[in-house]
């Protein structure tokens, strides 16, 4: 704070030209970043604008970029197509449960692979990696059969259970654990920590950025998943948001753009909101994982 005040008073004392030069040298990055921000924002803005237009306006070459009249009617019209409220709740429950379950399983598995010695460790780890390489579509039917035997078809757990373990997450976290100096865990052991204690007090705080990065990837993947939820659910009461969106992207007649965009706004805004709130943490986490 003191520094800032000093700098402001120092700037004031300088002649205009050097003040501009200093301002420029400090903020030249904005000149590059502002166009990039606009570029990144333009699809979002376009989505919102389209969702406020009438059907005719969307493709009329004479109509402007902005809707002539703000037509909020597309939102209720979208909501009437399917119970989006239920879908939203289900999406949150499914994505949240998957994330929590994955964080537990990948932490334990990654610790075992990174720091413990046991027979067949390498073979097992290779199998984990193999799981990453299998396209999900290849195991749809077997997963479906398993879930049916559990009696889970058409329930929320049907969308959660197949994803509670993650080969990708285990691999990512194992690499992160191996970066942590073993002296730290040795010290913790001397202080009387067991495996879980070491994991909790030493490893997890140090790999927080990796955990967050994985969390984002997992949430985005499962939030947008369409085919699997469609396959294992039948009733509206257990379905998720992308299925509602699918209703508006029609195959026979070209999409219903205005309502599709209204729906898209509704589906992406929760994620966007979360991102804005935790922005600083997310960016930090990617910076750290990137540097390593």
């Amino acid at each position: 704070m003191d520094n800032a005040v000093n700098m402001v008073s120092a700037t004031r004392a300088l002649p205009l030209s050097s003040r501009v030069a200093r301002w420029f040298s400090k903020s030249w990055k904005h000149f590059i970043l502002t166009p990039l921000v606009l570029l990144w924002l333009s699809p979002m803005i376009w989505i919102v604008l389209t969702s406020l237009k009438t059907k005719v306006e969307v493709f009329d070459p004479d109509a402007g970029i902005l809707p002539a009249v703000l037509n909020f009617g597309n939102y209720p019209a979208t909501l009437s197509v399917a119970p989006f409220g239920t879908y939203l709740l289900n999406s949150v429950l499914v994505t949240g449960s998957i994330l929590i379950a994955q964080l537990v399983t990948i932490t334990l598995a990654a610790y075992a692979f990174a720091r413990l010695e046991f027979p067949l460790k390498r073979l097992l780890f290779s199998l984990f990696l193999l799981q990453v390489m299998f396209p999900i579509y290849a195991i749809f039917l077997t997963n479906f059969v398993t879930l049916r035997e559990f009696g889970l078809i058409n329930t929320l757990p049907a969308m959660i259970v197949p994803f509670v373990a993650s080969g990708y997450g285990t691999f990512m976290l194992r690499q992160a654990f191996r970066q942590v100096p073993s002296e730290l865990s040795d010290a913790a052991r001397l202080d009387g920590c067991g495996h879980l204690g070491i994991l909790w007090h030493v490893y997890l705080p140090l790999v927080q950025p990796t955990l967050i990065a994985f969390g984002i990837i997992s949430v985005v993947t499962h939030w947008n998943d369409y085919m699997w939820p469609l396959l294992v659910t039948n009733s509206d009461s257990v379905r998720t948001l992308p299925i509602g969106l699918g209703l508006l992207a029609k195959s026979d007649s070209g999409a219903d753009w205005t309502r599709l965009m209204a729906g898209t706004t509704l589906v992406v805004s929760p994620l966007l909101l979360v991102f804005v709130i935790f922005q600083r943490r997310f960016i930090d986490s990617f910076m750290h994982t990137g540097v390593k």
Partner: protein
Amino acid sequence: MSSSKFTLSRRKFLAATAAIPAIGLAPGLIRSARASGPVKLQFMYPVGVSGDINRIVSGMVADFNAQHPGIEVEAIYAGSYDNTEQKVITSLGINEPPSLWLPINSALQTFLGLDALEDITDLAKADDIYDDFLPGFLNTCISDDRLYGLPFQPSTPVLYYNKDAFKAAGINKAPDTWDELFEVAKAVTLRENGELKRWGLTIGGGWHDWMFECYCRQNELVPWQKDKVLFDRPEAVEALTFWKQMVDGGVMPPASTWQGSANDFLAGHTAMLYHSTGSLTNLRTSASFEVGVAFMPKNKTYGAAQGGGPLMIAKNQSDEKKEASWTFARWMTNTENQAKWSRATGYLAVRKSAWAAPEMQSYLAEVPAAKVALDQSQYAGAFLQVPGYHRVREHLKSALDRTLAGEIEAAAALTEANNNSNREIQRVMRRQQS
């Protein structure tokens, strides 16, 4: 009882073991005890035209359930046609198919190959199905003279045109033959300083193999039989050569996408468009100009291929469920419901009596374009009902795309697609036999 220790005598153990099979049967007993309650059916359907269809279908199903206390139908939205097929085949894989589903009519041989469909010929003959359904639609569900479904939401491609663009070019009627089509397309193509402003004609991509079959049929060729395709026939080569001429003549883009082509038409970037009748409502209500609808131009004859789908009934289920499924399929396609469904969605009603109904007559007076598709449907037949049609479609589309892009001659491309497709069909049939 005297001892808290768990004691298990040999006799008790044997008795318990013997009881296991009986316990295993218990769910069966419970199920038959429940049979006096309503018969529960699952019905899987896609949504192809408008999100509102979801509401319309579930509304119809709710009405049905209210009118039929003995039957309870669960309406299950299953994505697009492809998604629906995947979901149904997955359920067939575990021997628990839904009672009814609504696939695209091309899937008929696919499901017959899986032995999944109930033969409803006798039920239909005892009813008025053969008399009242439009024969062109009913034929899409017939294989070897047996009926395997009730047409529910048929569509065909039609020619949409921009009336304002036509007026500006001094043309007052839609083209009626291939030659006229080419001439009109030349007249309405717009170029300013060599830069293209408007195509004369666009054939909706992604489904252009469907349009191509229409062109074959306009040349008096049905380009497939139950167990093979006939893409290498001269009639088909002539049709593709005609497409290539239009591309070379600069009036038609060599490629487009299904949604993109509809968007281009609405934005005035193409003056004519081959697209599904299913798009009628959307194009009519979204265009800033007057939309004309016409028959697809003829060559030797008019011709069209049916899109859309029938209601199919599963073979692998109890007789009680089959009977209830028939009641439901029959109800969904009755005169009153078909008239309502057609008006609400733009799909064509399948019954003659539905078209004669007063509400349908007033709809036709209001939207004369709907009549065009109906009239054209008497020239329409089923679309590519061969086993493994997904792969066959890809082979054909690849041949069309490569020819129009100028990579290969029409005849060579179609011969190649023909051979690849027939090999694929043979492979699927061999696998099904074993």
